[in-house]
């Protein structure tokens, strides 16, 4: 695959506050790449630097082998789908999509052909004469995509394009965006704070936090092999424990020595251990490697989410078997379900579900627009948790 964009050692600060701290990232042709991270992690700034709306303090932006750091947005072969669409309210659907073609003085019949083609790609045929303000959120979103794609850019930048849509529509648009990306073969750089969205749509996920890239990888890599506690915590649910690597493929945590599949650590090296809630088997108390007491049970439809207290550390376990609160159970963990990470600055910050509700407050600091969605996703289990 061919490199289309290279970000080299980009640093950017606003009013003395470092937003991007020495970011380097390669983006390949025909790829669906997602910048994922909590609010304020620098993902949108990265996108705006590629789009040309921000200039990095230092570092290079290479576009197809050329440094474009000082090229203004209107000369870049990159188009953007803005967070709240930014459609031109004084123009109808057709003219919004035709906007860039008119600027380039494309002949009239060609404009008509291209716009029609784009509108059918986003399933908005017949909406040409409609005013954009009369459209629903989902329809405006499609106009924004058509408008950005009509120019056949090399790269399409999408800044949280689905954030303003309701859950159902968002799911539909995820599939649709993915299909559009495949159909057009254009590189999509997608920004989101929604990990599920990132995992389901992307070829490559870039996890960002505090202006730094934490991990770059395929969705499966990111989920199964998180590089540090931040990534493990941000992507899906994780129990993150302090452990000690005894030798290759032997790790001790929670007062028990487990077989695992990781190797290459120093003898007795302290490590972070990640166990995903769905990877823990519930067994009778005497047959488990660990024993604990169930402190809360939440029914989530597909499975139960139960919190188990094991020597003061609260584990989250997702299971289809019902357990009662105060029941004593045994836990069994397969070697390949244990994932070992090197210690990092994020060690000890995440992973214990006794602070589950506190975690909610932290999430509550994200901006208003994102808040609603977090609440949608997280509020239900958290509330029932605190009620108990």
């Amino acid at each position: 695959m061919r490199k289309i964009i290279e970000l080299k050692n980009i640093t950017k600060s606003f009013d003395g506050e470092v937003v991007l701290d020495n970011i380097s990232l390669d983006i390949y042709d025909n790829e669906f790449i997602t910048l994922l991270g909590p609010s304020g992690c620098g993902k949108t700034t990265t996108l705006r630097i590629i789009g040309g709306f921000e200039t990095p303090d230092c570092g290079d932006v290479i576009f197809m082998g050329e440094d474009i750091k000082d090229v203004p947005p209107y000369k870049r072969n990159v188009n953007t789908v803005f967070q709240r669409y930014a459609l031109f309210p004084h123009l109808n659907v057709f003219e919004n999509v035709a906007f860039s073609l008119r600027e380039k003085k494309v002949p009239k019949d060609e404009i008509k052909r291209k716009v029609t083609e784009m509108l059918s790609l986003v399933a908005l045929k017949g909406f040409e004469k409609r005013s954009v303000t009369s459209l629903s959120g989902g329809q405006q979103q499609r106009v924004a995509i058509a408008r950005a794609l009509v120019n056949q850019p090399k790269v399409l930048l999408l800044d949280e394009p689905l954030a303003a849509l309701d859950l159902k529509l968002r799911k539909d648009m995820q599939v649709e965006l993915k299909n559009i990306q495949k159909a057009t073969g254009i590189t999509f750089v997608f920004v989101t704070h929604d990990q599920e969205e990132a995992l389901s749509m992307s070829d490559t996920v870039v996890v960002m936090s505090e202006g730094r890239i934490q991990q770059i990888g395929t969705p499966v890599d990111i989920y199964n092999e998180p590089t540090n506690a931040f990534v493990a915590d941000f992507i899906g649910e994780s129990n993150i424990l302090d452990g000690v690597m005894l030798e290759d493929r032997k790790v001790a945590f929670a007062g028990h020595v487990f077989d695992c599949v990781d190797a290459g650590f120093a003898k007795r090296e302290p490590v972070d251990v990640v166990v995903r809630p769905e990877d823990v088997d519930i067994v009778p108390e005497d047959k488990g490697q660990l024993q604990g007491v169930v402190t809360s049970v939440t029914f989530l439809g597909v499975h139960y989410e139960i919190i188990v207290d094991i020597k003061g550390f609260k584990w989250m376990i997702q299971t289809t078997d019902f357990c009662d609160v105060d029941e004593k159970i045994g836990l069994y963990i397969e070697p390949d379900a244990i994932h070992i990470m090197k210690k990092s600055e994020y060690s000890g910050m995440f992973g214990d579900y006794s602070t589950y509700s506190d975690e909610m407050e932290e999430i509550g600091e994200v901006e208003i627009g994102e808040l609603a969605e977090y609440e949608e996703q997280e509020a239900a289990p958290a509330e029932s948790e605190t009620e108990k």
Partner: protein, 289 residues
């Protein structure tokens, strides 16, 4: 509180405003119309109205005396000066409004205050101030001769009247345009730039069409008072540029109330038609590339 008493309360609280509006807006307008269509014995007549269109007088247009329609000439002159002033206000005000809307909060506040300060001063005093500046022996010429430049004769010319009008009505042009521009979503400008528009194109294709409502209300707020202005032309034009406002004032002072009302009435009708047309223009969805 049930809905009925709620409605009653609402109506009661509105009463003072309704009374105020009736007393000081509707009644005077009715009087103007009443006077316009009656003679001195208060019998119905259209003579005052037709006099506006038919009255003639001798005018020296440089090639000799000519017979002209007095009030139509005066009206056209008023219109010309008002249009010129409005255009100047727009040409100066639009860029200023744009710069203000894009400036930092602090700069915006300072500029706003600077624009409004002259409005705190009395209109007559402002006009007198311009007289002292523009007089043949005034501040401007004093400055010009001090730096050994040729002095200029401005007072008593159309230029002086236009300068006065532009100065007085400029804030009414800037403020409505500024308020529209300040609300303009920066993302729209970024989107235009993203879609291949260099700066001038962004201005022409996005900023200008979206600021038209502000421009229209600015134009209305400058054009209308400057058509009917009278004091500025007397003081800065040395009375040589008799405007429609001067005509109304003259007739009123001469105790010719009915004809004064007729001129005012005609002016009002013309302005109402203009405003209706502008509103129509503003309400139309502007779909141009």
């Amino acid at each position: 509180m049930n809905r009925k008493t709620n409605a009653l309360v609402q109506r009661l609280t509105l009463t003072p405003y309704s009374v105020w509006a009736a007393l000081f807006i509707v009644v005077p307008l009715v009087f103007v119309a009443y006077y316009a269509f009656t003679d001195s014995a208060f019998h119905f007549t259209t003579e005052n109205i037709s006099r506006f269109f038919t009255a003639t007088s001798q005018l020296d247009d440089g090639t000799g005396m000519r017979e002209v329609h007095t009030y139509l000439v005066i009206f056209m002159r008023s219109l010309k000066l008002a249009v010129i002033s409005t255009v100047i206000c727009l040409l100066m005000g639009y860029p200023l409004a744009y710069i203000m809307a894009r400036a930092s909060d602090r700069t915006q506040k300072i500029l706003l205050t600077l624009i409004m300060i002259p409005m705190w001063m009395n209109f007559l005093i402002r006009t007198y101030a311009w007289m002292t500046i523009l007089q043949d022996t005034g501040i401007l010429n004093g400055f010009l001769s001090a730096v050994h430049l040729r002095t200029v004769h401005i007072i008593g010319t159309e230029s002086a009247v236009i300068i006065g009008m532009v100065y007085d009505y400029f804030p009414y042009m800037v403020l409505p345009i500024y308020s529209v521009m300040a609300k303009l979503d920066v993302k729209l400008l970024e989107a235009a730039s993203d879609l291949g528009c260099p700066g001038p194109s962004v201005l022409r294709r996005v900023i200008w069409p979206l600021s038209i409502p502000g421009v229209l209300s600015g134009v209305t707020m400058v054009l209308i008072p400057s058509i009917s202005t009278f004091y500025i032309s007397q003081k800065l034009g040395n009375g040589k540029f008799f405007l429609i406002g001067d005509a109304i004032e003259g007739q009123y002072v001469a105790n010719n109330l009915h004809f004064a009302a007729a001129i005012a009435f005609i002016l009002m009708v013309i302005l109402l038609v203009c405003m209706a047309l502008m509103q129509k223009l503003a309400n139309r969805k502007i779909i141009v590339a």
